[in-house]
């Protein structure tokens, strides 16, 4: 879920761009040539995955997938989220151009958080650790996003208090679904293509 153009105040927009620019700089400055196709393809896949509908009773929700981006790309996830959000704004008008900075922070910082949480799995020898930590990472990423989103709205003014709360509540079922889907996807990946998860570890180790 992202904020549209026209809602936030200039200071919030500016802060969004400043933080996003800074994070882009530090997470992408040492990218090697061979990483570029990988980051791009995973970004495209995250984009496609976020178009998938999941049924919730009579209605359905879109997946957010910033947690999965964090798991797969490590610190590169921030750039990935930034590019995916910009493309979503251009192609689907989800979000908007002036809020790219804020939205990138709201979704990209929790993606980095998800990466760190997922890294925590290595202290546990359980064979199912990828599933559990994947779920935890994904749920944290969604809830983190919802909280940052609410904060951005509150920064505009008190009149957004109720809306901010509503946003937070609306994200709870999404967090639950995302925990399930991403956890199982992480379990699948570790059994089929382990190096996809290990790579993220290496990138992290380098930084």
């Amino acid at each position: 879920m992202h904020i549209s153009d026209g809602v936030l105040s200039p200071p919030v927009l500016a802060a969004g761009f400043a933080i996003a620019g800074f994070l882009l700089f530090i997470t992408l400055r040492d990218v090697e040539a061979e990483e570029i196709p990988r980051i791009s393809l995973i970004t495209a896949a995250v984009f496609v995955a976020s178009l998938v509908h999941f049924p919730v009773g009579p209605t359905s929700v879109h997946l957010v997938m910033n947690g999965l981006a964090g798991i797969l790309l490590g610190k590169r996830a921030f750039g990935s989220v930034f590019v995916a959000l910009t493309l979503q704004a251009l192609l689907f008008q989800h979000g908007g151009i002036t809020v790219i900075g804020v939205n990138a922070v709201n979704m990209g910082v929790p993606a980095l958080l998800a990466w760190k949480i997922f890294e925590g799995r290595r202290a546990f020898p359980s064979p199912k650790r990828e599933v559990y930590f994947g779920s935890l990472a994904a749920a944290s990423a969604v809830i983190g996003t919802a909280m940052l989103l609410s904060l951005s709205l509150l920064a505009v003014g008190d009149e957004f208090k109720e809306i901010a709360l509503l946003v937070l509540i609306a994200h709870l079922p999404i967090a639950a679904i995302e925990a399930g889907v991403v956890g199982l996807a992480a379990g699948f990946l570790v059994s089929v293509k382990q190096e996809m998860l290990v790579t993220a570890v290496c990138d992290g180790a380098k930084s």
């Binding site: 393809l41 995973i42 999941f54 689907f92 008008q93 199982l184 089929v192």
Partner: protein, 259 residues
Amino acid sequence: MTSIDIDSHADIDSPIHRWDPRAKIASILILIFSVVMVESIRVALLGLVLSLAVLLASRLPLGEVARRVRWPVIFLLPIFFILPFTAGGERTVTFATFDLSLDGLLLGTLILMRGLAAVILAYPLFATSPFNITVQAMRGLKMPEVTAQIFLFTYRYLFLLREEMRSIEKSLASKSFAKKTDLRTARVIGTALGMLFVRSYERSERIYRAMVSRGYDGALPSTVKFEMRRGDWAKSFAVAGAAVILQLIDFAATQGMII
């Protein structure tokens, strides 16, 4: 599903299409930021009119625009309807048993108009050049090389991966799978997405090999060249000037200098 091809109207002939892409992007961006920052409803209305003027000048199909504003409106309408109940303030109108905040209603209207104007402007901003030209122009405006390349490759492979995802979904449907709100659905979607990611990862390795075998070493060569002509400068000054004037009028209006 919505079309994700933004190149389809890039070959129309219009003043916006003929504009140097770097100048076009910079100027329209300035106008968009100016529009979303106005505080006065009347000036926001003026901003909406300006954005429509740019849109008309671009000769882009208007039906397409109507479709594009749908999503932001779905996002903004709840705000528009909730704010009158939550904003409080001194000016209220009593409607049935509710006290509606006039300030909330005005704020909602302002937000809706600013949002609409920004979305309308975004369309001529990006749909009047093919996506790769837009990215090359962004490079001309100092977007870093790595980010530009990720944009290009992500955009290129979005279409392919979307086809792959659709094929997977067709295959699920043909095996009588129906999504439900349950753990098995989460498992099937989780592993199907996992498969999509594995394939994407492996494809990225093959792509890198193909790039290296054709001499890639991290830099993306381009044949695209831009040149600013007199007309480009004129259009840029007009649009950026409009953005500045909008802010000046807004300042005057919020200070009570004009009504």
